[in-house]
Symmetry: C2
Subunit: 291 residues, 2 copies
């Protein structure tokens, strides 16, 4: 059974066809432009194949509340041409197979849960620290969702006493995305993260904030594993720093076991998103029993 | 069908028998002492009735991980006689019917979800602001649980710039429980909340912190309703203050609808816990389809 998957990112789209084994048979990637052009490229790729379902992990915010009139539409994105765009119904028009939509981070979480760093646990949280901060939770093969999807990058945390930066989030200033995303680091120091590699203070502060966010997610959601991905996490030294800060801040309150097994890197390189998108097509077809 | 319910609180136990209608036929309450004495009182009450299952909402932390060797035991409570006490297996020995265990806040959430302020929604979060701060989430009739239960009172939030108080949580200092619980308020001002009724600053600061915690829960869990109970919330003026702060802090980032419908008071007076405990017995007997 061939399933199509789209990782619909704000910068680029990745389209692939694969099956339940997790293997990808063909894959293409192109920049995200306006909806018509971008979705035409996707159609051209998938028209080469006979797929039985299409799963899509999209940038957001997106309306995933099935009771809502605008279910499946992109919401208040800064990308004006995509704002209020009815992505799901457009895809349903373009393709004659069932289409299943979720967020990019939820798809990535599903990919890592099934094939990657979460494959031996019952629940995992996937956090991306990149242009934004976002996270998705999978429990027993099912993506967690409330009334709408989570927006985990916009939680508040304690400011570091020595950090005068007001934060970069246009809505909240110093939410975790406003304090520790790639653009937040760039605004605080006036240089890109890649130019700050040797500045220990930069990564200590980032680890301090990210560990706090992880404590908050951990005590609220109690996942078995926490997988940290995204551009900022390319600074590999962040992993041990975050683990140390996490244990320090949690301060023995909960028994976490070995933190090296809890806070980990992704294992699917850059394919968790598109593999997860393919899984979205399968999960919804065949339900959770597959997991 | 008669079901037994126990609200096993740190200060008092409430035991009741009831049925699926939500009616309570008999109820008794007594102080929490050591396990033997306390559980003997419970047994004496239930021995008057023929119950078909027993549901228990207990103080914590408690091990609810079914894979764990100590499943059903109380964990690191400051009440030494209850520390590591195998509550579930003791109850299973005492009663010949199935026993279902969850936390006190999860039980209370289930009670409000089914019969109270959450009865018309698909998901609700119940937060108690009392001696501690805790919360439980119910979605579509099912209590949310990760590897173990949530410990939502121990999230970090931004300190108010004018608040020098280091926080009262023995583990974290300024987590939300350490900043806004009853004992936190008492430690900050050197007086009980009930003696501070007319001091506007006290409640403004409490509302500032509680609203932040609610923003964090809201963006992570996306519940339809947030029900705030517990001793501190007896200060009714906190409700509008928290709603206002919540909207200010969220700052239009998500469309929440009418906040007066989202952040609300409990409706079951002091019976959400024990009614929820009775439901725990029923949910596990007859599954979620009842809801
Ligand atoms: N090696 C690196 N070290 C630190 N920061 C990086 C690195 N590579 C990328 N970033 C930062 O990560 C962000 C991009 O994140 P990424 O996950 O690649 O994309 P996106 O979040 O847009 O999908 C940028 O802000 C960039 O500055
Ligand atoms: N009317 C009130 N105003 C403010 N605080 C109160 C009020 N009543 C109780 N409290 C505070 O609430 C806490 C007790 O919370 P409660 O929910 O009644 O019990 P518990 O959390 O122990 O189950 C105490 O710290 C007390 O000071
Ligand atoms: Zn924000
Ligand atoms: Zn704490």
């Amino acid at each position: 059974m061939l399933i199509g998957g789209i990782e619909a990112g704000g910068t680029k789209f990745v389209c692939a066809v694969g099956d339940e084994s997790g293997e990808i048979f063909d894959k293409v990637s192109f920049p995200t432009r306006n909806p018509d052009e971008t979705l035409a490229d996707a159609k051209q790729f998938f028209d080469q194949y006979v797929i039985e379902a299409l799963g899509v992990g999209t940038f957001g915010p997106v309306d995933l509340n099935k009771q809502s009139d605008t279910y499946g539409s992109i919401l208040l994105t800064p990308k004006m041409k995509w704002r209020n765009y009815p992505l799901l119904s457009r895809l349903q028009d373009d393709y004659s197979v069932p289409v299943y939509l979720d967020t990019d981070v939820n798809a990535a979480c599903l990919g890592e849960y099934k094939y990657g760093a979460g494959r031996n646990v019952n629940s995992c949280l996937y956090i991306t620290v990149g242009t934004g901060i976002g996270a998705g939770l999978v429990q027993n093969g099912t993506v967690f969702q409330g009334k709408n999807h989570s927006e985990m990058g916009h939680i508040f945390v304690q400011k570091h006493v020595d950090d005068p930066f007001a934060g970069s989030c246009p809505s909240h200033g110093a939410c975790i995305e406003g304090l520790a995303s790639g653009p937040a680091i760039e605004q605080r120091y006036g240089k890109k993260g890649t130019e700050l590699v040797d500045n220990e203070e930069v990564w200590k502060l980032a680890a301090y904030y990210l560990a706090q966010a992880i404590v908050n997610y951990f005590v609220i959601l109690s996942p078995e594993k926490i997988i940290l991905g995204g551009g900022v996490m390319k600074q590999k030294k962040l992993y041990p720093m975050i683990r140390g800060e996490f244990m320090k801040q949690l301060n023995g309150y909960l028994d976490v076991g070995n933190v090296d097994d809890i806070i980990v890197a992704p294992e699917l390189k850059d394919e968790q998103g598109v593999k997860g998108a393919i899984l979205l097509g399968m999960v919804n077809e065949k339900q959770v029993s597959n997991f």
